[in-house]
């Protein structure tokens, strides 16, 4: 009996993952608990152990494809064993097409090409609609209507040649149903012609019916996110044997012509895309304002020098980041409004202080793991937590839920020498603290004397919808006060 490998749900809110690397290929044998594949969710990579020993019978989801949690990724069993459930594509062909939900083509170009036919103009649609909604009969309870409706299959169709795109449009061919025999599984013109010759000659144009056009079906009682198609299928566990729902994988870079020095295209990694999306989103969402103060680090440096060896004996590498985190956590207790998020109804103040700490991964990007309930940790606890998340972030060993739920962020750009910066808010938080490099500077101290002090600039970027200059400065001043007066 073959065992199926499914895309696990790696966190409460993680509904999809990308297969980054298969560590075994079809035909390989594997022991139970050996690493089978690596998957990536949002920004976190995870190795998935094999749930059983045996031979890899079939890999269904290729590298680079993103599928929803619960999707069958592969089968493991005895050599020669039949893989249960037929070819995924065929399995779908048998599923009756839904009326209300037009099949969604996987390729954008095709989607545009098919747009005109999506309009509900066909008389046949009306007939169907009537058949589905018998007059006078009570509407079926629509408790879980989505699970009974086959979700439009999407797979990475590869390169769609102009003629294949045109044929698909003209002849209403859902390319997901066509088996590709060209290079790399590409669907060739011949494949489409063969499909047309063998299968149903032309398919009914998929017609989109607005929810408000289908009274009596119980639509009005459905949750709104199910009523209004968002273009993304709702997160439901696909039935066994149903093909993976796949989003378009990144296209490979074009091959430059021989002998020419061309610009080099680095295809986006998931992380790079998430960073880009998030940065743009953040700048569009919050009016960013940055305020800068400086702190005299004399006390902190003294404490650091005195304690770092004791910490090391406990297996903890003490860093200045721990002091910033401790000061920020304490200041957030004093200024709870900074530990908040904007909502249209009002400002949501979070009862927990969950500190997001930015960790650079070099060119690869940046990840912001979270220390939950940071205000309850001692300096040792904070330092240990920072050590732990930073090292695991660099080793790509964070769990997906560890990058979620932060309420306030700290970025230590001083580690790369920066004096002060204007960081971008980590949405949906209200502010982010940027800490610069600790530098010795001549400063004027009490009594008009000039002294050499280790100084650091602290910049706070805040969402001006939530915080005003005075309240943000009050918070930042509190951070400075804590650092300036660190008990040595």
């Amino acid at each position: 009996m073959a065992t199926k490998i499914i895309m696990p749900q790696l966190g409460e809110s993680v509904v999809e993952g990308t297969v980054t690397t298969w560590l075994k290929k079809e035909g390989d044998t594997i022991a139970e608990y050996d690493s089978l594949l690596e998957i990536n969710t949002d920004k976190v990579d995870t190795e998935i152990p094999s749930p059983a020993g045996g031979t890899i019978l079939k890999i269904l989801v290729p590298e680079g494809t993103t599928v929803r949690a619960g999707t069958v990724l592969a089968w493991i069993g005895q050599p020669g064993e039949e893989v249960p459930a037929g070819e995924p594509v065929e399995a779908l062909q048998k599923t009756p097409g839904p009326v209300g939900e037009p099949a969604e083509p996987a390729v954008d170009a095709l989607r545009q090409a098919q747009e005109p036919v999506g309009e509900p103009t066909e008389p046949a649609v009306d007939a169907l609609r009537q058949a589905q909604a018998p007059v006078g009969e009570p509407a079926e309870p629509a408790a879980e209507p989505v699970e009974t409706q086959p979700v439009a299959p999407e797979r990475d169709l590869g390169f769609i040649s102009p003629v294949v795109a045109r044929l698909a449009k003209d002849k209403q061919v859902d390319l997901n149903q066509v088996k590709g025999t060209g290079q790399g599984g590409r669907i060739t013109k011949k494949d489409v012609m063969d499909y047309l010759a063998s299968g149903p000659s032309t398919k009914e144009a998929p017609a989109e019916v607005s929810p408000w056009d289908t009274p009596g079906e119980g639509d009005l009682f459905r949750p709104t996110e199910l009523m209004f198609s968002t273009g993304k299928p709702p997160a439901v566990e696909p039935a066994e044997g149903q093909p993976p729902v796949v989003r378009q994988a990144p296209q490979p870079a074009p091959v430059p012509a021989e002998g020419k020095v061309e610009d080099r295209l680095i295809p986006h990694t998931t992380m790079r895309k998430r960073i880009a999306e998030h940065m743009v989103l953040s700048k569009h969402t919050s009016p960013h304002v940055t305020t800068v103060m400086e702190s005299d680090f004399k006390q902190v440096v003294a404490h650091y020098e005195k304690n770092k060896e004791a910490f090391a004996r406990d297996g903890v590498k003490l860093t200045y980041t721990a002091y910033f985190a401790a000061a920020a956590a304490a200041a957030l207790r004093a200024f709870p409004l900074v530990n908040s998020s904007w909502s249209d109804e009002g400002v949501v103040v979070h009862p927990q202080v969950n500190l997001s700490i930015a960790v650079s991964l070099g060119e690869e990007g940046l990840i912001v793991p979270v220390i939950p309930n940071a205000d309850g940790l001692s300096l040792l606890g904070l330092a240990r937590a920072i050590n732990d998340i930073a090292s695991r972030a660099r080793a790509h060993r964070l769990k997906p839920d560890e990058v979620r739920g932060g309420t306030f962020s700290i970025t230590n750009h001083g580690t790369s020498g920066s004096l002060f910066a204007t960081p971008v808010i980590n949405q949906p938080q209200s502010a982010i603290l940027g800490v610069g490099a600790v530098k010795k500077r001549a400063v004027v101290i009490d009594g008009d004397a000039i002294a050499v002090r280790p100084m650091v600039y602290l910049s706070l970027t805040f969402d001006h919808r939530i915080l005003d200059g005075a309240s943000a400065d009050g918070f930042l001043a509190k951070v400075v006060e804590i650092l300036d007066n660190w008990p040595a």
């Binding site: 040649s161 102009p162 003629v163 294949v164 795109a165 045109r166 060209g182 290079q183 590409r186 060739t188 013109k189 011949k190």
Partner: protein, 327 residues
């Protein structure tokens, strides 16, 4: 019907045209007493005399210049350039004078002249006896450029060229002179300048070729047929003006196009076919348009292994077909 060689067909056409029309005459290097270095005019000097089969000095500029003058006077000259490689001294006469005469005289004066030139490599001819020159002339409005690939077309097209009121560049694949044989009817017939010819019907991909490469392409297509790949072959025959309709009809059917010529890749004639297809059959394409051409080196090398490296041949064409079919 007799099966004759390509060069026999060319000779037959000239013989019949000389016999048919008093204004037709031949001028070129060694075309008279010697009968041409390839024996294309063999026997014609004896038959029609030294005033109609004229041995010229070794000066291509004057061969074409004399031809233009005679044509304007009402004659129908057939100028032979011994090897296409030697045509460049006459380039100015062809491009600036012959090609433009009709246009600049508003149709009052035309140059009904044929310039015959053996072209192409693969005969151990080295740098100066192997060149392909079609791309230079297929760029010039006012000229027609014709390249036969078989004896029937060679005879019919040459007759059309002689009778055409404007200058025709008639390029002969010299490697095929005695290699390519075919049935040719005795007596008068013509093959119109312009239309391409689908010489093999197929459904998987189209190969466009002309001259010697067309001959090789048919051989490669046979090989592919035994592998289950159904190749359509289009013999362009007239490369300028090109038969767009046939070019497009074929690629619209197969969705894949390969162009083969032995001239250098860059700026070669294949680029024109590729451009026509890209512009007018884009939504019929199932694969990138491909070219199999001579490499971008200055000449066909003399060394035999290097000549083989340069020249497309049935094996190379078959490989390109396979690659495209698999796409």
């Amino acid at each position: 019907m007799a099966e004759i060689t390509l060069i026999d067909a060319i000779r037959q056409a000239m013989d019949e045209e000389l016999g048919r029309d008093e204004s037709v005459f031949i001028v070129g290097e060694d075309v008279g007493k010697r009968g041409g270095v390839f024996r294309a005019t063999m026997g014609l000097f004896e038959k029609y005399g030294e005033e109609r089969v004229i041995d010229s000095p070794l000066a291509e500029l004057s061969i074409v210049g004399v031809g233009i003058g005679a044509a304007l006077y009402g004659m129908r000259p057939i100028c032979e350039i011994q090897f296409a490689d030697f045509i460049y001294p006459a380039f100015n006469q062809i491009v600036s004078e012959a090609a433009k005469m009709c246009y600049r005289s508003n149709g009052e004066w035309t140059v009904p002249m044929v310039i015959r030139a053996p072209y192409g490599g693969g005969i151990g001819g080295g740098l100066y006896h192997s060149q392909s020159v079609e791309a230079f002339f297929a760029h010039v409005p006012g000229l027609k450029v014709v390249i036969p690939s078989n004896p029937y077309d060679a005879k019919g097209l040459l007759k059309s060229a002689v009778r055409d009121p404007n200058p025709v560049i008639y390029l002969e694949p010299k490697k095929g002179y005695r290699l390519i044989r075919g049935e040719v009817p005795e007596g008068d017939f013509t093959v119109p300048i312009g239309p391409a010819n689908v010489t093999r019907k197929g459904s998987d991909l189209t190969v466009y070729a002309y001259g010697m490469m067309h001959y090789y392409t048919l051989q490669a297509a046979e090989k592919l047929a035994s592998e289950g790949v159904d190749v359509e072959v289009v013999d362009l025959r007239t490369i300028y003006p090109v038969d767009k309709q046939t070019v497009l009809e074929s690629v619209k059917k197969t969705g894949k196009a390969l162009i083969v010529h032995e001239d250098n890749l860059t700026g070669g004639y294949g680029g024109e076919i590729a451009a026509i297809i890209a512009e007018e059959a884009f939504t019929d394409l199932d694969a990138p348009v491909r070219r199999l051409c001579g490499p971008d080196v200055p000449a066909v090398p003399f060394s035999h292994p290097l000549q083989d490296w340069f020249m497309p041949n049935p094996d190379k064409i078959a490989k390109a077909m396979r690659d495209l079919a698999a796409y």
